[in-house]
Subunit: 155 residues, 2 copies
């Protein structure tokens, strides 16, 4: 499917995967720690970790030999999932956390509690669903179904 | 699990769900149109749509009687998934779209091609994973596993 949302879900869309990535951002690196925190079966966890390594989101770093044991660490590609994770968290905080956010974020520089506000890379103004329109991009394969929905740039 | 990422995935984490939501943002409203675009079995699509309605992401609006037929429309809660969808798309554009982004976004106001830049709700500066820290929030149930990872605010 020629869609970057679908491609992203191919990498991180399986159940448990984004929760493993969340724990990586919290500093968890070891198989047994993921397993204990998530309460997930060892074979499913191993499968998800393998997949994340194969797709370049995590990298295995040996911390012990005989037998060899690995830390799992986020790559640059993995760390770039921060906005995905943050958007998931903020939506849950707003709509599915009646007792308030379990986790809050502090901006280290200004020392205030912070949420992400999406702004335009071109002009810096606040962006939301009503202020943008989707257009057919260079990687579009011009599926007829999308041509109707997505005008070309300049149209 | 006392985590807003996990709670969000309970609502939109099943395979296909975010692709249905994506199509809703593109203006698709009808069962047969989702089915044709996604190439998904009718019973899985019905299951996912029912779940999204139950959780308040979509609402059914009748457009025909005898037999009754429905449009599926995003609620305010559903439209608020725009940042989640946008973050998924941008990550896929960067890491999983070797031929370039299939879809680009234009900011209607400035007329430029745009990507979302995350900024701080308190001070307006650019935010990234290195500029924030996670703290235990008001909805935290103080799980011992998280206390180690997440200091309280002011700590």
């Amino acid at each position: 499917m020629n869609c970057s949302v679908a491609q992203t879900l191919e990498v991180v869309g399986e159940w448990w995967t984004m929760l493993i990535v969340r724990d990586c951002f919290l500093g968890i690196t070891r198989f047994d720690d993921f397993q204990q925190r998530l309460g997930i079966s060892r074979n499913i966890l191993a499968d998800r970790l393998d997949h994340l390594v194969e797709r370049g989101v995590l990298v295995r770093v040996p911390y012990q030999e005989h037998p060899v044991r690995y830390d799992y660490r986020l790559t640059e590609k993995g760390r770039d999932l921060w906005l995905v994770l943050t958007a998931l968290r903020q939506w849950g905080d707003r709509w599915e956390a009646p007792e308030g956010p379990p986790v809050i974020i502090e901006h280290k520089q200004c020392r205030h509690e912070s949420t992400v506000v999406p702004t335009c890379s071109a002009c810096g103004e606040h962006l939301d669903v009503g202020s943008v329109r989707a257009l057919s991009g260079p990687g579009s394969k011009n599926r007829p179904a999308d041509e109707i929905l997505l005008p070309a740039r300049g149209a």
